[in-house]
Symmetry: C2
Subunit: 190 residues, 2 copies
């Protein structure tokens, strides 16, 4: 998506350790106009798909999930993150390793929010190694729901997670794919 790529080039900040900061327009402060246009683009990309619910993981995925679910006219569901492996109640859960924080966490979704009749579109802000996305895919499979695919705002293509998940047969659409961030220079996949 051209507008998103241009905005990343204009306002994104490359920090030490290969971190791309987009906190000023996508993250801690959100340009809601851009957000709505990204949601419409996701709806266009998945126009041929049946989508009954949008699923993401808290907290940074909530904004784009709300916008995409609103564009489709369906509910949004959030997986919660928990540091404990003690999961109580009737939930689907998945263990995920966070490379950002170098620790494991569990994501959980109450069973009553996902049914085998659902067609789930997974949405997230970033896709890098794909650990969070794999966790959400595993929860969808466990629930017996159909997986329409996944849509993310920014994919770090050079980390390979997206292509690995595509190779497993899941449809993944990213609004901007970075193929390189070396020396602070951003190169998008065309």
């Amino acid at each position: 998506m051209k507008e998103l790529e241009e905005r990343i080039l204009k306002d994104g900040i490359v920090l030490d350790g290969g971190v791309l900061s987009v906190g000023g327009f996508l993250n801690q402060q959100i340009d809601t106009g851009l957000l709505s246009r990204m949601a419409e683009e996701v709806r266009r990309l998945f126009a041929d798909a049946v989508v009954t619910k949008v699923l993401t993981v808290e907290a940074s995925g909530i904004a784009i999930a709300i916008a995409v679910a609103t564009a489709f006219g369906v509910p949004a569901v959030f997986a919660k993150k928990s540091m404990t492996s003690n999961i109580v109640g009737d939930v689907y859960s998945s263990s995920v390793h966070s490379f950002t924080h170098n620790r494991d966490y569990r994501m959980t979704v109450p069973k009553r929010f996902l049914s085998p009749l659902d067609h789930i579109l997974i949405v997230d802000d970033f896709l890098a190694n794909g650990a969070a996305l794999q966790g959400l895919i595993s929860i969808v499979k466990e629930s017996g729901a159909s997986l329409a695919g996944a849509a993310v705002e920014i994919e770090k293509g050079f980390q390979g997670g997206g292509d690995l998940i595509r190779a497993s047969g899941v449809r993944v659409e990213s609004l901007a794919i970075l193929d390189s961030m070396e020396q602070g220079k951003l190169v998008f996949r065309s």
Copy 2:
């Protein structure tokens, strides 16, 4: 807001300890149609106010903040919660006591996201004792921005936080105000 009150009566669950669970339509799963209509109602209530940014605190305030900011056509800003009192960087911060988790935390907003030229509408999902809202108000005051007021989805009127903040001169609009939850029976302020 009639639709919200009826939905709370239909799908809200009163748990032990006076907790009202609305996870099925306002929280962990979100009815995006209802969310959009609540955002339009907030825009109507503050139609006479100047609003340049919507401010909330992560994570449960994000959904309604995104919807309200989209309705106003302005950016949304999220205060982050931190368990440490060691705040680094150029941020506004406020210490808040969480009665739900019985511990203190700090909320922080980068200074670059709030300016004295801004008119801030604070948005949150719940208002009970008002600690989180007081923290956000304190951050707005510290920044020198004008405070247009606060809008919340559900106020627990019997806990008094909302009326205390109103008495301090801040405009607080709640879409539903519960005056009692005794024995699981919900009574709304008319």
